[in-house]
Amino acid sequence: MKAEPGIVPTSEAEDVQSASRGDVDAFERLYRSHAERIHMLARRLVGSALADEATQDVFLRAWIKLGSFRGDALFGTWLHRLAINVLIRHAHVARRREDRHTALTPGLQAAATSDPHLRLDLEAALGTLDDALRQVVVLHDMEGYSHEDIAALLGIGISASRMRLSRARLALRAFIMRHE
């Protein structure tokens, strides 16, 4: 594995190298550093009810695929992109199982936030979107990806990404109007 000083922080680079050789303690440090952010991404893409399971799956895949991390980007960036791919598959499976509605159970949402009404509304609003729209608005407005990145991640065109974002925002606006 190539670790470039200055690109990957030394301690994290060492942990990545050790973890790729099977050091579970090093992987635990990586997990604890990134679990919160990945769980937040999971909550946004697949909903709170499935976020725990999906987060575990992301890190399981990361453990298995760690050998393919070449160190030419931050580990967090690599992990985040891996997570998006895993979570999109989770969302697809969840949709097929028709479990999505379970993810919007008010009790579960209320337990996961200091401001349950706000988070419930936000996640309920996201839950009304088709996966294609939800993924784009989460990645663009919540995760800060550009349309170029989203297009590459989702395998769609840049104009399609812009169109989906527009439709998603309009749908979210309509959701707010209905619930005000």
Binding site: G22, E36, M142, R173
Partner: protein
């Protein structure tokens, strides 16, 4: 306005609505931006919609980490048990080993106690059961623990050592679970796991007592 003019106005309105999102993100060309701005100047509905979309965008970007997001860091032990070893060979984690040891101990001890009880037809003392029920909270009470350890000394040395080693493994798993529980009291998995371990240990201690009693009366 003629029908044709109204239709053109409606088309322009729909076009502008589709562009508002890109306007918010500063992604329109000068020509597109000029057209949209011109329409906005004359259309209050679209101005209101632009403000509402701006609020939607701000709403999306203001989602802070939740308690569940923060708690995800403490779910490491759950993940660790499912990590395959390098080379993709499935590996059982430390907690998994603890559960396995507890299960084995309970299985071995309970089977042995049952067999000895059956073969000797000796009544199984119930002192340990009452000690457990008298404890508040944890099913592993101090009297039960003391009773079981005193009974261990009465068993054959090799059997006693094997049982003590197994109990030590369960204790290690319980200590790990307690540490994790202290770190995150909201983690239901850890709480359930700890409760399960304590119940298994209580069952094991009771089985040790019954086994020793059966040994003594046989």
């Amino acid at each position: 306005m003629t029908d044709e003019g109204m239709a053109r106005g409606s088309e322009q309105h729909d076009f502008v609505i589709a562009q508002l999102s890109s306007l918010l993100d500063g992604e329109l060309s000068d020509a597109e931006g000029g057209l949209v701005e011109e329409h906005l100047h004359a259309c209050q509905d679209c101005r209101v919609m632009l403000d509402e979309l701006r609020a939607v965008k701000a709403w999306m970007s203001s989602d802070p980490p939740s308690a569940a997001d923060r708690a995800a860091r403490d779910a490491w032990h759950q993940l660790r048990t499912s990590l395959p070893a390098p080379g993709s060979r499935p590996r059982r984690g430390r907690w998994g080993r603890g559960l396995l040891a507890a299960s084995l101990l309970i299985g071995v001890v309970a089977s042995a106690a049952w067999w000895r009880t059956r073969s000797s037809a000796a009544p199984v003392r119930t002192a340990s059961r009452s000690a457990v029920s008298a404890s508040a909270g944890s099913p592993v009470s101090e009297p039960l623990e003391a009773l079981a350890h005193s009974r261990l000394a009465t068993l054959p040395p090799s059997q006693s050592r094997a049982l003590q080693a197994s109990l030590a493994i369960i204790d290690g798993a319980i200590a790990d679970a307690r540490t994790a529980r202290m770190a995150d009291r909201t983690n239901e998995f850890v709480a359930t796991y700890l409760d399960d371990l304590l119940k298994r240990k209580a069952d094991a201690l009771r089985a040790v007592v019954a086994m020793a009693d059966a040994e003594r009366t046989s």
